[in-house]
């Protein structure tokens, strides 16, 4: 077991290393000079050169990378060229905004998706299944921003029951937070619910057809117990994988959702930094996002090992 965990951790470290190189490469290959950008086009060439030296931009690429990694490891992410703020301070403000929308979305979507999937599987082919399958298909096909625009239009503009946009931190005013978070969380959760429900339905159908379930049914066990205690338990592992994968979707979707609902989160800063060529922020943003994904997937992988000993042995 511990060998398995160590292996998973080593792989995660490699992945983080690869991503750190990728995010660092962003700075190297993107057009434009960060030092010139920081000082403005009126600045003299000497001033720009001085700042370039201060930002280590004059050093060889490998040295720059090592210095950057060292800085990040110390918690010193550098300074934003556009916002003129230390990036760690900016991220400390912004990452919580994204998480306070993303985590509720994930926690709402996972159980709801599983329930929808189970109902669909149990009622296979019945009208209820057909309706649910139709709805999940539609939800998966809706671009997140389009869901956002439509829901703003319906709930905020026409019905006037929800705010147009905005964000309030839960620690500041929990009621307002919930009020303002309903639509963004809904938009983030919708494709996740659909994805999880689809996966659950497929796995449940496979699981229901397996021999031991048939045996259990033949033995006259109550249907509810069969579904939840046996079939769902079997189907759970792939479902957990999908939930782990959905973290990616949440973060990707947060870019669009934050734009629609004007939330100054991680996604907004990433989009605007790419637009303004504030690469140092982009580097850190990409790194943080992949760290979150890698951490979640590591937990999921370790969870598997705990749930299912076969995986420990077979997974490479």
């Amino acid at each position: 077991m511990s060998a398995y965990i160590v292996k998973r951790i080593l792989i995660s470290i490699f992945v983080v290393f690869a991503v750190s190189i990728f995010s660092f490469m962003i700075l190297q290959i993107m057009p434009g000079d960060p030092a010139r950008l920081a000082l403005g086009y009126e600045a003299s060439e000497e001033d720009v050169q001085t700042l370039r030296e201060k930002m280590n931009l004059d050093k060889p690429v490998v040295t720059q990378y090592i210095l950057w990694v060292k800085g990040v490891a110390r918690g010193d992410f550098g300074q934003s060229v556009i916002y003129k703020q230390p990036i760690d301070k900016m991220m400390a403000e912004r990452v919580p905004r994204t998480l306070t929308l993303g985590i509720p979305a994930l926690f709402i979507a996972a159980p709801l998706g599983i329930v929808v999937g189970v109902i669909s599987a149990v009622r296979r082919g019945k009208p209820l299944d057909q309706i649910l399958t139709f709805l999940t298909t539609v939800s998966m096909g809706m671009p997140v921003f389009w869901t956002g625009i439509l829901s703003v239009f319906i709930f905020s503009v026409e019905l006037k029951i929800l705010p147009l946009q905005g964000y309030v931190s839960p620690s500041q005013d929990f009621g307002q937070y919930v009020y303002k978070a309903i639509l963004p969380v809904f938009c983030m959760a919708l494709p996740m619910i659909a994805g999880i429900a689809r996966q659950t339905r497929t796995n449940m159908l496979d699981s229901i057809n397996q021999d031991h379930i048939r045996t259990a049914r033949a033995n006259g066990l109550p249907e509810r117990s069969i579904i939840f205690r046996h079939a769902l338990k079997n189907a759970m592992i792939p479902i957990i994988t999908v939930i782990g994968m959905q973290v990616r979707v949440v973060i990707g979707g947060s870019l669009l959702v934050e734009k629609v609902f004007n939330v100054a989160g991680l996604g907004t800063i990433l989009t605007s930094s790419i637009n303004t060529r504030d690469y140092i922020v982009v580097m850190v943003g990409v790194l943080i996002i992949s760290l979150i994904t890698v951490a979640v997937n590591l937990v999921v992988d370790i969870l598997y090992g705990v749930i299912d000993p076969r995986i420990r042995l077979s997974r490479r």
Binding site: I11, F14, V15, A18, V19, F22, I26, I29, M30, P31, Q130, T133, F134, T137, V138, M140, G141, M142, P143, V144, F145, W146, I149, L150, F153, V157, Q199, T202, N203, D206, P238, R248, V249, I251, G252, G253, L255, L256, K259, L270, T271, I274, N275, R277, V282, V286, I289, S290, T293, V294, N297
Partner: protein, 306 residues
């Protein structure tokens, strides 16, 4: 699928040939039964995809305008016999722009799926066949890429490579590569152990011959399914990029750009954002339903993986 290949190689006399023909006929019938097995939704989707493709191919025949032709004096008008869906803020015919948008979206979708397919299949085949450190490295790199959401990866790459159709399709294609690599890698791993691959190796066939003659054809069903589903995803990412204002730029008739631009007029002229939005939604949904059908018909093992 490997059964089929063995069959083909074993055909010796008329009788077996007829039998095989009959079976193939049955297979085709089976294919269509399963393809449309998902009820009316699958049929509607299939028809919709066909319509979208036809519209994309024949768009100049469907309208007398070009997507860029303006009539400033006639801006922001509602539906009329001259302009079936009304006009936009520059007096361009919305119907025409939507029709050409179908062409644009489908070409972006197809083009980027081709990129993803070529790169992904090549990497997946190589990683699975050669295995070892190389295979492991490729797979770990794919893990690394998977840890960055596709939209964010595309966003970063778009800032580097710019917003031309070619580069955008390549960028979206690259962000879809890990999906291909993972699935193909898994398939090759299991195929590698089959006798006929072993036999081919023993006869002394070269690696490339084995890869392209034996392994690749066996992955075709998977590739077709992934390709179909990838088109929808690619279109979705393109529209997301356009909505964020990165990538394809106005006045290109891309549905994403049209939604982004039309959103300004959502209160006064909602049709500007609404129609492209509905079309985008219908195309992505129908592509994904057709993809599901294809998967069930061609490669049911993939169910639960895609």
């Amino acid at each position: 699928m490997d059964n089929e290949i063995r069959e083909i190689s074993c055909i010796t006399d008329e009788e077996t040939r007829l039998k095989a023909k009959k079976r193939r006929k049955q297979n085709i019938r089976y294919f269509f039964t399963v393809l449309f097995g998902r009820g009316i939704l699958a049929k509607i989707s299939f028809v919709l995809v066909c319509i979208f493709i036809l519209v994309a191919v024949f768009c100049p025949l469907l309208t007398s305008y070009t997507p860029f032709q303006q009539e400033l004096s006639n801006a922001l008008k509602g539906a009329s016999p001259q302009h079936l869906l009304g006009t936009d803020n520059l007096g361009r015919d919305l119907f025409t722009r939507i029709v050409y948008g179908a062409r644009f979206s489908l070409s972006i979708g197809l083009l980027s799926s081709v990129w993803a397919l070529v790169i992904g299949v090549a990497l997946g085949l190589a990683a699975g066949y050669f295995g070892g450190i190389f295979g492991g490295l490729v797979m770990r790199l794919m893990d690394a890429q998977l840890s960055i959401p596709p939209l964010i990866l595309a966003l970063c790459l778009a800032a580097v490579f710019g917003g031309a159709v070619f580069s955008i399709s390549l960028i979206i294609g690259i962000s879809a590569v890990p999906g291909y690599v993972r699935v193909i890698y898994g398939q090759v791993l299991s195929l590698r152990e089959y006798d006929y691959v072993e036999a081919a190796r023993l006869i002394g066939q070269g690696n490339f011959k084995i890869l392209f003659k034996h392994l690749l054809p066996n992955c075709f069903p998977t590739i077709i399914v992934m390709f179909t589903m990838g088109v929808g995803t690619a279109i979705m990412i393109e529209s997301g990029l356009a909505y964020l204002g990165i990538g394809i730029k106005a006045p290109t008739p891309s549905w994403g750009v049209m939604i982004f631009e039309g959103y300004k007029y959502i209160f006064s002229s909602p049709h500007l954002a609404l129609w492209p939005g509905i079309m985008l939604m219908l195309l992505i949904i129908s592509l994904s339903v057709v993809g599901d059908g294809l998967r069930d018909a061609l490669d049911p093992k993939l169910r639960g993986k895609l």
